[in-house]
Amino acid sequence: MNPFKKNHANEIESILTSYPPERKRAAVMPLLHLAQQEAGYISEEAMREIGEICEISTTEVASIVGYYTMFHAQADGKIRLMVCTDVACRLRGAREYLAVLCNELGVEPGQTTGDGLVTIEEVKCIAACDHTPVFQSQINDEIEYHENQTPARTLDWLKLMTASMKPGEAPIELGRAPKEAGQAPIELGQAPKEAGQAVDHE
């Protein structure tokens, strides 16, 4: 059984033509993206098949998956919410925005909501520093920018999206009514400390 190769024969063929025939390994990232599009993550079986196509071991494929932050080896929430809190965003209140979101969703960064729909991540700069707070959504391998956010705006969008993912069911319960975090950027260094984040080495 080679379901990945079977389901994507044409796409695989087309990807391979972009690279010299003796350099099949170069196709590994596009193939991983293709696998991730299908399931939202990359299964061990897909890694094995991709290794066969690229003529490298499954372990080497797994090392690529592990190295790049946007490849996922396990299923997370159906919607991945990637909030930038990097240098420029942090200067304009992105950490405070993230803290309100996490509070409303009842999760910490890196966690998935109980219903398995939303995973929230804190990410590094995504080239949108002039429209912060900003997040990118990833649904399967489709990525979109959402700029100039407020917690209320983001939560409204999430309600809309999760409702369509569970037809016939009530939209995701987001806890308390969303509060508007003020538009004005908040002073740096006033952010709530992330509990349990600090791991001292000594």
């Binding site: 972009s18 993206h33 946007m70 240098v87 420029a88 590094k124 520093c129 002039d130 080495h201």
Partner: protein, 416 residues
Amino acid sequence: MSELFLLRHREIQGLNQLKTYIASGGFETWKKVVTTLKPEEVLQQVKDSGLRGRGGAGFPTGVKWSFLPTNIWPHYVVANADESEPGTFKDREILEMNPYQFIEGLMIASYAVQANDSYVYFRGEFAQIEHKFSERLRELNAKGFLGNKIFGSDYSLRLHPHLGAGAYICGEETALLESIEGKLGQPRLRPPFPAVVGLFDKPTVINNVETLTNLPIILGKGPAYFRAQGTEKSPGTKIFCLSGRVKNPGNYELPLGTTFRELIYTHGGGILNDKAIKVIMPAGASSSLIPATEAALDTPMDYESVPALGAQLGSASVIVLDETVNVSDLVESTVNFFEHESCGKCTPCREGTYWMAHISERINHGKASKEDIDLLKTVASEMQNKCFCALGEFSISAVLSGIQHFRADFDARVEN
């Protein structure tokens, strides 16, 4: 406001539609290049223009191209669309709003070095842009602008997108090449340089998106026209990404040599809540911190003047801090970034960024003493000139300059 070379979509609506781009003269330069100019004539014009690489290093583009040996084939051109430096968002605007000018530039560069296959490395977060790019390539192939024997000449060109998956280090050109080859994105030892042993071990030119987007202007209107903007040694315009504590963050295309003051106050509208400006970071998270004195504000933003302030122009990602920002907090976020993005290949960077991030966090969370500030400085100093690539070296810029100029901010965090 000077003429726009790059953000022309702000003047021409719908420039990201092929029809509009062609109607505004698009791909005429490409046709002229392929049908009337020899590759060495293209190279000479780019040399004459004085165009310097816009990705950060500011190396003269024509000179970079001329390093490719003519006895080893094939040649490759790789466009670096891995825009990841915190505070940088210029290439994204080009790729979304004026994409054909970038593609035309990439085609011209490919012709100049006679590459028949060229690649665009998009950062993973630009997946949407990459999908759109693939559609545009199909349009261009259908039009005969790409493909075999273009415009009846002997020249053939294929363009290939390659999508990354989230790794800042892949903006470093040799790590980028490793990533295209399907390996971990980690930098290569140099020499040999990519101009000789590059992609798939062949001679390779790697240019930033903004650099390439200048080429249709240079070849279309001539080097002298291009040189009319900017300074003698830094000709042309540059997209300055302005962010942080300013009223109007955004991309501003201005002649190289424009002062920080003009960017921040005339175009950026000044500081939020009319607070006092404190620090300028001209090159994103990789910057040394420049205390925002009157003299600094009056410094021209070009490749020669900024180093006199102890910093680099880099990708011109100008992050502004005001008096409400504690520099120790800022440093925590820069070192946290580099710790996250260190590729792990060399020990000074892997271990150094780890320790800088942890010490910095201790300082800011009231768990440190004054000695920890010196320890932070020692770790950074020990890394200096020992890292395998520039990422490691960049990780200490804000730390050392921050402690040097704003020690009181760190002290305030460890008192009591």
